[in-house]
Point group: C2
Chain length 456, copies 2
């Protein structure tokens, strides 16, 4: 059979199918991503069904919803029925409303129920990551009965490496048995005989994905069960979905720390105007806040006129405050994210950053004073007759500003968390802006005290 691509080229479907079979799923997806949605849909329709399902299940496949929408209705519904429910839900969530309604109506009833129960959980929660395709068994079964059940349902479950043991009447989650322990047991022994002593770790559908990742990591799990308030199982989150979520979370955190909205799309794929939108907002907000520096300097206009030499060190002093603040913020963002530091530890951190800032500021202050003295004595620049006082002003300001930078940079992630934001929203540019305005006030105030009666 020949199929015609949008470029007008007719390609042999059997040929393409054979080619795609030789590639592993990740490479095949990369190939589909290089085509437009129409061509990808034509090729996908020509593939054997299990292969098409495998490719649609890759989260790296771009425009999956668009591709599915372009397939004949019944073919699309067949593929969606055969897919893992969590991934099918992701695809439904990206669909336009008319396509959503059209395809939802053609799904098998059990697929429809699964997807309708998954589609309503907010992004970034365990509910949005979970799949309903797990293996469960009543506590009354033997190991042999359970193994036979696992063999029967294997094809329709995302993982069979954990089997969830439910109370026979209430369907409450009692235990979690690994396939590993199961195949080691005697066939006629009761299922619960190979269960661990401790109850299984669970999450609720609204648990944040970062917490899910933390638990999976802490307990070295391959999947974690999601339960409702009656300990009825709603689904499981598997380790591969958690890794994807962690990568996405890291990308968002780094972009936010860089001072912008998270892109949510690869750098090369996002449109120019969307990119402007993601970057201009924060840039303007920071710019408007930074305007306070101009106001601060206008306030010290009299001092500036009398001692223009003071302006020479403004960039140096301000940037040191911003840099020390950025260090402290990055430390505490990670400390809070990893649970090494908790909200109630804020005062412990403050008591640590205060002397830390003073020592770091002291080191920079000494370098600053030496620099001014050197330039003056070597005749590289003439800071005037009061140069020792100017050097003292610069040195003292550095101590004050680096201390303030370290302290406010370390407290900002706590403030963010306290008022309900992600601590990772405390960006380096945000800290720098905060420290810049205060830094100028500190610098000029110290200058007024030290230079009063001489230059000012």
């Amino acid at each position: 059979m020949d199929i015609t691509l949008s470029t007008g080229a007719a390609v042999d479907a059997a040929n393409i199918t054979a080619q795609l079979r030789g590639l592993d799923a990740a490479d095949a997806v990369e190939f589909l991503n290089s085509l437009n949605a129409d061509d990808a849909a034509v090729l996908l329709a020509a593939l054997p069904k299990p292969r098409a399902v495998e490719l649609l299940e890759q989260p790296e496949l771009l425009h999956a919803a668009q591709i599915v929408a372009l397939l004949p209705n019944d073919h699309a519904a067949h593929l969606l029925d055969a897919m893992a429910a969590d991934r099918a839900t992701d695809i439904f969530q990206e669909m336009d409303d008319p396509v959503y309604a059209r395809l939802m109506g053609r799904l098998a009833p059990h697929t429809r129920r699964s997807i309708e129960s998954l589609v309503n959980y907010p992004d970034g929660t365990a509910g949005s990551l979970m799949t309903t395709e797990f293996v469960s068994a009543p506590a009354s079964w033997t190991i042999g009965e359970t193994l036979a059940h696992v063999r029967r349902v294997e094809g329709s479950r995302e993982t069979i490496y954990a089997i969830y043991v439910l109370a026979p009447l209430t369907y409450e989650l009692l235990q979690r048995v690994t396939l590993r322990r199961l195949i080691m047991g005697e066939l006629d022994a009761p299922l619960l005989s190979v269960a661990p002593e401790t109850p299984p770790i669970t999450v609720t559908p609204l648990t944040h994905r970062e917490e899910v990742a933390r638990l999976i990591r802490r307990h070295d799990l391959l999947a974690i069960p999601v339960v409702d308030e009656n300990r009825q199982m709603l689904g499981i989150v598997t380790v591969d979905d958690v890794i994807d979520a962690m990568i996405e979370e890291t990308t968002e955190d780094v972009q936010k720390f860089g001072g912008m909205q998270a892109l949510e799309q690869p750098y090369m794929k996002i449109g120019f105007l969307s990119m402007v939108g993601k970057r201009a907002g924060w840039l303007c907000a920071l710019f408007l806040s930074e305007m306070l520096t101009a106001s601060a300097m206008q306030h010290f206009e009299g001092e500036l006129d009398k001692a223009v030499v003071l302006t020479l060190f403004i960039p140096l002093i301000m940037s040191s405050g911003g840099n020390s603040g950025s260090q402290a913020t990055s430390l505490l963002i990670r400390g809070l994210a990893l649970g090494e530091v908790r909200l109630r530890d804020w005062w412990r951190v403050a008591l640590r950053e205060l002397p830390m800032g003073m020592v770091l500021g002291g080191i920079l202050g000494v370098i600053g004073v030496v620099r001014i003295a050197l330039w003056q004595m070597l005749g590289l620049y003439d800071y005037g007759v009061f140069w020792p006082l100017i050097a003292l002003t610069v040195g003292a300001s550095l101590v004050g500003i680096v201390t303030f930078g370290s302290l406010s940079g370390s407290m900002l992630p706590f403030v963010m968390q306290r008022i309900g934001f992600d601590p990772a929203s405390a960006s380096a540019p945000f800290v720098a802006t905060l420290v810049d305005v205060t830094g100028l006030v500190i610098y000029f105030s110290i200058a007024i005290v030290i230079l009063h009666g001489t230059m000012l």
Copy 2:
């Protein structure tokens, strides 16, 4: 039996053991971490051996090497023999030389060989993450023979969910069969009948952990085999070790992006002086570079004296350059880390960031001009008779500096990667410093052109 803690308190070993049994491993480790190494060793010695091994295998256990060193020699060797080889290797790597030699001599020969082969791989490579405890089977076996073998060796293997199929004579890695497929097969069918069509994904012992994580994620694996140049298997890296490595990598990246050396220890645990060391180095380097701003301003001393009003906008303009640079750097660091952007794409990125910087700079420029005009017309501040020219200088400088910031911020991660560094070493403060000096030169040069013949 009573045991005496360093606090002088005598506690009942049976009691403590019972208490620790009720906790899951992660909580028990947290309890041990709250004790000093002597007490932790006393308790660990009193625990049943399988439980002690389980706790020592948790990577979250602090001072594991110290604790093991405090145990009686034979007891320590027994525990190390029973542990997963990769984790035992981690513990050996933290030991002082005399303890290392003393305990290594008492290990069972096969444990010693495993550890000696693992201990030499550099940190951050697949070799340093891998374990030698995987299940392999010759390609000549049936499914039944393989399952019997899996049951026999289960206790000594880190994972049994992937079985590696080796060529009978050369021991070359041929295929990877999952336990899932194995239990679905007929017992007398050949092992290779349940193998996938594509060859297994492998890494070498020197593959970087970031690449290992990328492959595990891309192919949704639970473990990845590590092979030498003859495709002989050296070990496997399991998904839980990869998650730990990813978290460590993210923490390092965020700390480096914040402008400091990676801490390698939790914030609350690291000593004050080590912390000063990790932060002062970069802070001083940035401070010394930033001194160029003072030199730049000294160079424009004549202009500064004539038009002090120009200094009012220095912090505003410089910080906008730094902020736009920080945005671009964070975008490209992640783009390169995720493989969305490759080294050879640098010119594509440059062609994107150039108009992006001009648009963003244009937006800020308009806001800047409006701000100056507003303040002047509302009588909030008097910028003098040439205020429209000053507003024009500020606006034009913003376009130039934000463009330069976006461009150099986006190119810095490429430069880092090109000269062999991690692109994540391009920190926000580093970009800001780079842009600050150039920003001043741009600002004053534009001022000289626009204000020539009027104020300058």
